[in-house]
């Protein structure tokens, strides 16, 4: 197929768009390159392929510990926020009627406010009631809090797009409310639930400012641990763990795109 001839402006825009994509991906790509680079600094030409930063990483106990800690935390928080957010979305979309215009902003508010302020507010409150700010529970409460709005947002947009006559058809054919939910409604919103759960997991795993204020000795999340590490050392051990983190996040996204379709996450219809 022949295309209309491109003029200079077109080509200029092409270049700008290309550079914008490069700019978006650059830091991620660089981190991965640094992790496999033989030298301490990334040079040009590179120092050759090496896995030594990975072996050093596996020997760095604090890093590995905080990696597993973050996994545990993200799992706990994302499961909780998925359940809480699903219930809230069902209620707000289906049953809240005119109250929805109040309940929606209420549900989304934790997403709206700077997490550093939320972290500060939580920390100060936990201290004051004597719980102490730096416990697993504090982190779990905070992470669940800020990931719930994602789940709520995605699941409620899926529910809004849901064709209710399908539920009525099921009821009409003799299914009870509960049967209708499990046989008709759930299969439809399942993708949205899984998708938002995965997204909640990833954003909990990556969360930094909130964790920084709520992390204590023995309760260090991976981003906080990396941050501490980068303050004192600048070797690519951080790049190695970051690479694992990146592969994990992209892998989850890839699996989701294939099984669920990412569009559910930005509110598009399937």
């Amino acid at each position: 197929m022949r295309e209309q001839k491109k003029n200079l402006t077109d080509r200029l825009v092409d270049v700008m768009v290309f550079l914008a994509y490069v700019f978006l991906l650059l830091p991620t790509v660089i981190v991965v390159l640094a992790a496999f680079n033989g030298g301490e600094y990334l040079h040009f030409p590179p120092d050759g392929f090496s896995l030594k930063w990975f072996s050093k990483l596996f020997a760095t106990e604090q890093m590995m510990e905080s990696f597993y800690f973050s996994l545990k935390l993200a799992l706990a928080a994302s499961v909780s926020s998925t359940l809480i957010g699903l219930g809230a979305a069902l209620y707000v979309v289906r049953y809240s009627g005119r109250l929805a215009s109040i309940l929606r902003p209420y549900m989304l508010s934790p997403l709206m406010l700077p997490s550093i302020l939320t972290g500060l507010a939580l920390m100060v409150s936990f201290y004051s009631i004597g719980v102490g700010g730096k416990t697993f529970f504090g982190l779990y409460a905070g992470h669940t809090l800020i990931t719930t709005p994602y789940v709520f947002l995605v699941v409620s947009s899926v529910l809004y797009n849901f064709d209710y006559s399908m539920e009525e058809a099921a009821r009409n054919l003799g299914a009870t409310r509960l049967q209708t939910f499990f046989y008709v409604t759930l299969p439809h919103i399942k993708n949205g639930i899984i998708g938002s759960g995965v997204f909640a997991f990833i954003s909990s795993f990556d969360q930094f400012p909130l964790s920084l204020l709520l992390t204590g000795p023995g309760y260090s999340t991976l981003p906080v641990q990396m941050f501490d590490y980068l303050r004192f050392e600048f070797d690519p051990v951080a790049a190695a763990i970051a690479t694992i983190n990146i592969v994990l996040a992209y892998g989850m996204m890839f699996l989701m795109e294939h099984s669920v379709g990412l569009k559910t996450l930005y509110g598009g219809k399937k």
């Binding site: 006559s165 399908m166 009525e168 054919l173 299914a175 299969p187």
Partner: protein, 362 residues
């Protein structure tokens, strides 16, 4: 067996009266259409019968059972939705089998009944496909099969043909009618398309603004519309402003700008005791009018109006005239092409009193 009785149904949303005293009886095996413009309450009536809405007052009974407040799943009523509402994550077979599974019908029995119903709707061999792989007409038939396979007491259809293209719509009308006679099921059919209702129904219930204006067989409805709205909604009609001039034997008189008109097509109960001079409407269908270039002989049962031909269109089997009457109205006349009156020339149009409708103002 499955006689459906709607008794004084009322429903309001906020301050909107959606259903205003809806009462009608649907006999066993009858195909009844609820016809009316959007917002007239026909869909709400259907949803009340299906159990997706509960009327504020009034009762719905099927046979001897009052179902007014029963849960939808306990009603044993089939329903076909406007957008079909097929479950996209289930195959055609699973869609059709859904209702049977909910009724805990044994597996072999399900297989047998699904196979049978698929034959009835002419979709054998489509069981393993997903709804999105079917055409609109096929999806439609799956929806019908799914509703019929549970052998409901009553089948409700909510504008089932609205999403189909014109040609298919035409075909499906006859198909549905044939299917209904074959299966022998009572059907309530919601539509805003008068020709659809005329083709399909044993009886049509015409609704406006939450009220039933008339409930009659198609022919009766066309020939003797009870209200101006009904007359306007079903077929074409010329309407003249007039004032009532009293009853006289089988007929009545009304004074219009074109002179005194005798009307013998009306519902006497609307006019008994009406004061002389009350504003009314006179309606004459375009095909009831005869047009000629000379003044017809004045007969007691004939209304004659003089006018001028303003427009004339040849549409194959007839001429479609627009005539400006002496009273100033523009009247449509559909006449056989054997009489050809030139544009601009004066003419006389006439209609028998039996074809001249007298209608009360709303």
């Amino acid at each position: 067996m499955a006689r459906v009785i709607l008794d004084s149904l009322k429903k309001t949303y906020g301050s909107n009266l959606i259903l205003n005293n809806i009462s009608t009886v649907i006999e066993d095996g009858e195909l009844v259409s609820l016809l009316g413009p959007s917002g007239c309450g026909k869909t709400t009536t259907l949803r009340c019968i299906a159990g997706f809405e509960i009327p504020d007052s009034g009762t719905i009974t099927i046979g001897d059972t009052d179902i007014t407040t029963m849960q939808p799943e306990q009603r044993d009523i089939g329903m076909v939705f406007q957008n079909y509402a097929l479950f996209p994550h289930m195959t055609v077979f699973d869609n059709v089998a859904f209702g049977l599974r909910m009724r805990k019908v044994p597996r072999e029995e399900i297989a047998k009944r699904v196979r049978h119903i698929m034959k009835v709707v002419g979709l054998e061999g489509f069981e393993k496909r997903y709804p999105r792989m079917l055409s609109g007409g096929q999806q439609q038939r799956v929806a019908i099969a799914r509703a019929l396979v549970i052998q409901p007491r009553l089948l409700l259809l909510d504008e089932p043909l609205a999403n189909l293209d014109a040609k298919l719509r035409e075909e499906m009308r006859f198909y549905l009618k044939k299917l209904q006679k074959e299966v022998g099921i009572t059907m309530i059919y919601v539509t805003h398309d008068q020709s659809e209702a005329l083709v399909l129904s044993d009886r049509i219930v015409v609704m406006f603004n939450g009220r039933i204006h008339q409930s009659a067989a198609p022919e009766e409805l066309y020939r003797h519309p009870a209200t101006l709205n009904v007359a306007n909604f079903i077929g074409l009609i010329n309407v003249f402003d007039a004032s009532f001039r009293g009853l006289d034997g089988d007929g009545a008189f009304a004074e219009s700008a074109c002179g005194l008109l005798r009307c013998e097509n009306f519902m006497p109960e609307h006019f008994r005791g009406m004061a002389d001079g009350t504003a009314v409407k006179v309606g004459i269908r375009p095909e009831s009018l005869t047009i000629s270039s000379f003044c017809p002989e004045s007969l007691p049962g004939l209304n004659v109006i003089s006018g001028t031909v303003k427009e004339k269109v040849y549409i194959g089997n007839m001429f479609d005239y627009r005539v400006a009457t002496s009273g100033g109205e523009l009247v449509r006349v559909q006449a056989s092409p054997s009489v050809d009156i030139p544009m601009g020339s004066s003419c006389w149009i006439s209609a028998g009193a039996v074809d001249t409708l007298l209608l009360p103002l709303e």
